[in-house]
């Protein structure tokens, strides 16, 4: 095996590209720094990575920065072709699974009881098992209440698999959030009557679009 010597920025970029293409997990900057003997500062690394990202612009694969580091992934537009190579399509998660995931993602850490309280129905153990099996949630502790129920939170893999760099990048909760924040917050403290004016409720009384999203999602599953 001949020995490879790195001279130009191009040479370093090739090593970086090969490492990112071959890595089974996203690579953090700290890990990437192990690649070279030379110690580049963060700005140089940023330039190198941005440059590599640009090299891949307009292709079927892109370099993305995720919660746990950098990784190459195929662009969603290409999935329709890649799906043709698969023997079975990946399952779409049921509404029970997605709602449980949403509660854990937005309200974490939560117990199973919290999830049941919000959804108004018992949570099947299989729903939690599905999410744990995917590596998207795990137990981060136990609440100090009778039965010491497990507290669930989302994982890095959840963020990675959904292309998020942090929980702050979760889609913001709907506009009803604002209305509730502005008007229903006192409800949580003193439980007064919610304001009943018709005009204020109009914003949320519009037929929401979310049912459509689910209808189509369910139909394809």
């Amino acid at each position: 095996m001949t020995n490879l010597t790195l001279y130009r920025p191009e040479d370093y970029k090739k090593v970086l590209e090969a490492a990112l293409l071959a890595a089974p997990e996203p690579l953090s900057l700290a890990e990437l720094k192990k690649l070279f003997d030379e110690e580049f500062d963060d700005e140089t690394w940023r330039t190198l990575l941005d440059d590599l990202k640009r090299d891949w612009a307009g292709r079927g694969v892109e370099l993305v920065q995720l919660a746990s580091g950098w990784r190459f992934q195929t662009r969603p537009e290409y999935q329709v072709f890649l799906d043709r190579l698969k023997n079975e399509k990946p399952p779409r998660y049921s509404r029970a699974v997605m709602e449980t995931l949403a509660i854990i993602a937005y309200r974490q850490p939560v117990t199973r009881g919290d999830i049941e309280e919000i959804r108004g129905v018992a949570v099947s153990p299989n729903v939690l098992k599905t999410l744990e099996g995917r590596g998207w949630i795990d137990t981060v502790g136990h609440r100090d209440s009778p039965g010491r129920p497990a507290l669930y939170a989302t994982t890095r893999k959840f963020l990675d698999d959904l292309g998020l760099r942090s929980l702050a990048e979760l889609p913001p909760l709907a506009e009803i959030e604002r209305i509730i924040d502005a008007q229903a917050r006192p409800t949580q403290e003193a439980h007064p009557a919610p304001p009943l004016q018709a005009d204020e409720s109009a914003a949320i009384a519009q037929p929401p679009a979310q049912s459509d999203a689910f209808a189509s999602a369910d139909a394809s599953g």
Binding site: L21, A22, A23, P24, V61, R71, F72, Q73, T74, Q79, P90, P91, R92, Y93, S94, V97, M98, E99, L101, A102, A105, Y106, I118, R119, G120, V121, A122, S124, N126, V127, T130, D160, D161, L162, G163, L164, L170, P171, L173, A174, I176, I180, T187, A190, H191, P192, A193, P194, S201, A202, I204, A205, P207, P208, Q210, S211, F214, D218, A219, G221
Partner: protein
Amino acid sequence: MEETQKAGAGGNEGVLPGADSPRKVGAGKTASASPAPHVPKLYGEPLPELPRDLYIPPDALEVILEAFEGPLDLLLYLIRKANINILDIPMAPLTAQYLDYVEAMRRSNLELAADYLLMAAMLLEIKSRMLLPRPTKTDSGEPEDPRAELVRRLMEYERIKLAAARLDALPQAGRDFEWVTVWLADKVGQRQPEVSVHDLQLVWLSLMQKARVRQHHRIRREELSVREHMGIILRKLQGRGYVVFEELFELDGVHSSVAALVVSFLAILELARERLVEIVQSEALAPIYVKSVHDEPHALQA
């Protein structure tokens, strides 16, 4: 997933089957449910009339029931469908409509209706409290609306339902894109130990210490570049018999500085001193030849 849904619909968890697990309500039971009296019954008590806004044809019932995730979901559906202001829910018609559905579900599958029955009880309680004079809170002076808790829960559930749809819309690894992982080359053999200059230095130092203790004399560190050139020159001589002295100097390479020439010269002298090379000159001013001593006696190169 398949298992999850089956088990989820299995019964004792009280979860309605998801819309994507078409678990049809038994045909026989549906048949008995469909021709149910046009006037719905509430725990055996016939309801006087169906609220017009909330009316859903009985044959749509089966389809709709399967799509609900629970009582909150069903209530939200009824509210949104009737375009009711969630902050001012007319409890009487909503409760009546809800109970109508629950009754149909009870007939379809008693076991699954537990959560729904709990909600039915809650709705009936709110409805009856609405009829009573409301207690006035001492601190705020505002009367407490019996619907407040229900509204809070409905809105929280709606937010989560919406959030779940948005999460589901995000590109998802394995569904909407794939991770790229190329193979490592097959030809890559066993990983070789890495040796650094620092390792070498430490080993040499410890060797020197040991040698000093053992031999009571110091091994003199010699000029490295002379030793390096001794190796270079021996390599040049290898298998070539007598080589012209000047050929052993690099006059146009990276080593062609004056210092390098001196080092090469010293290396040749050192090699001769250690009797590793033989230097011959037939007469004064004639070409000088150098030969590695172990080399087979080749013909003298002219």
